[in-house]
Symmetry: C2
Subunit: 340 residues, 2 copies
């Protein structure tokens, strides 16, 4: 029921995903039955592959998380997350209110890791493929243990989502030397390097490595990650705007843009962010699809969710999380050194 468009885009999105997913993948649609059935009837491929779970109410897009928690029971969002808890669904996906989805998911599924809340994950294009980048905003204050947990979560996610057998991991810093950065980042570096976790840890990376592809997964705190992601988005917006101005400035430039339009379209596709991101660290899989998602975007998100649900994702995370206390005990704090 969520997102800017509701069932009229999302149900056709499910239908589009059903085209490429094998018959073993089935769908539970939570929401107002009449509205859902109207859309389902228009999509013959869904017949026999969807069940509708009626919900009287929906969480509004502008509802505060605390309010959504209080009056969330009986909403379509609550029902979707609850189905993961009961095991009826392998993964929940919503294009609705992000804060509410996070709060409801935490309440129903509980955090597996020792985190306040699920880190937000971004996927950025790089020279060789994509970078998994976290946390981009959920946990503003992070100690070393939180950063190591992000590494474990992000690594498992990257493998499940992108089929990379052994993703490489880097820790975001202001330089690659050992003594650079603040205390938290240097301590996390030590645990990742010496703690015996099952991770391909490659050390410190810098902001420009996000789009360079030197590692698959880049870890940082939610403050730095949020600023970096929004800075990158702002740079992309600014450059598109400038480029458009440059290519419509003269008759020749306009003609040039017209001739180059195929290449420019592929260029734009490459820069666009993927439609969905997982809420990591919960005892169960939940994906957030962006609110403005079209049917096509939602189909991509549903396919990604199905891939994740069929992977060994959760078990891999649990294995590494169990090693974390020993890893932290083993790594010996170094003498204090000046930052930067």
């Amino acid at each position: 029921m969520g997102g800017d468009h509701g069932p009229s885009e999302l149900v056709p999105g499910v239908a589009r995903a059903a085209l490429t997913l094998t018959g073993e993948v089935r769908f539970l649609l939570h929401g107002e039955e009449a509205a859902l059935m109207r859309e389902i009837r228009r999509c013959p491929i869904l017949v026999g592959r969807v069940d509708v779970r009626h919900a009287d109410r929906v969480v509004a897009m502008d509802e505060k998380p605390a309010q959504a928690l209080r009056r969330g029971k009986g909403t379509s969002m609550w029902g979707a997350v609850e189905a993961v808890k009961t095991g009826e669904a392998g993964v929940a996906i919503s294009a609705g209110n992000t804060g509410a989805l996070m709060a409801i998911s935490k309440l129903i599924l509980r955090m597996g890791a020792d985190l306040d809340r699920p880190p937000l994950v971004a996927t950025l294009p790089n020279d060789k493929g994509v970078t998994t980048f976290l946390d981009v905003g959920a946990n503003v204050d992070c100690d070393a243990a939180r950063l190591v947990e992000f590494a474990i979560l992000g690594e498992a996610f990257h493998r499940a989502a992108h089929g990379v057998a052994k993703p490489t991991v880097g820790l975001l810093n202001v330089g690659s030397e050992e003594m650079k950065g603040h205390q938290e980042v240097r301590e996390a570096h030590r645990i990742l390097r010496e703690g015996g976790l099952d991770l391909e840890y490659r050390g410190f990376v810098e902001g420009d490595d996000l789009t360079r592809g030197v590692v698959d997964v880049i870890v940082t705190d939610g403050f730095t990650g949020n600023v970096a992601l929004k800075t990158a988005e702002g740079a992309v917006r600014f450059i598109r705007h400038e480029l458009k101005a440059a290519l419509t400035g003269s008759v020749l430039a306009r003609l040039g843009a017209l001739l180059a339009s195929g290449g420019l379209r592929r260029f734009r596709d490459r820069l666009s962010t993927p439609p969905a991101a997982p809420l990591l660290g919960l005892n169960g899989l939940v994906l957030k699809c962006h609110g403005g998602a079209s049917g096509r975007d939602f189909a991509q998100a549903v396919t990604a969710a199905a891939d994740l649900a069929r992977s060994d994702f959760a078990a891999e995370i649990e294995r590494n999380m169990r090693k974390l206390p020993a890893a932290m005990a083993e790594s010996v704090p170094p003498a204090a050194e000046g930052a930067s």
Copy 2:
């Protein structure tokens, strides 16, 4: 003597700047006399406007700051900064070793503000003009007072460098609401809003505002600022690369790129960073020009330095810095609130 090219690019750069600067601006060139004189003789406009200060030695581009401090006396860099201290020069400019320039400047000129080291300033293009962004890497750990000092320094710099009478200032955060962010950023927000400083403070801004131009000056700690700047640089590099690939993909796209080349060149110029940045917070003006600077870049840097030296920059900073202790005492700490 510094930079990748030395006097063969830098002296013609000074000559180029001399063309646009009035005769009242004179130049002291520090370095090996014979090498400098050879270049000066090729630039008639410099005759009568330059003095050469011979230095036997130069600081190497890869020298460690500590080493440069120990054996710095007698180098061209040391002489240039010393001339600011004695009042012989209004401003020093170097394309040499950044770390060494910072260390030598701190030792000779001392910090005026209560900072460990001069914040690094970046200038980014935005929709309406340019954004002054600091600290982009010098001070990794920053308390609230440091952030407020950056606001004072950045505001005065923006006015002097860009002729904006009353630059607006924003504090980088993960959202614009009062309770967002970590403690340091929320306390700095309070001091800036309530402390009676002579600043047009506009509150919290986010990463994408760096290229949007909602405020003239954006303040953050050296960790976040370094990551954000490098992320933006990485995004620009990646996009240029992708765009080039898109525009050379087919014969039509290549033809399109050729037709649009004028617009694309202006587009690229707009994205390039300015060649020089000031070391702020010293008792005296020092500019760092990037090492790869061409003569044309160095001319721009010299012109910017002359503008800065003739402005009321230092006095304005001092006035606001004197208000800081009272501003900090006046702002009342709020009750603790959850981050993000």
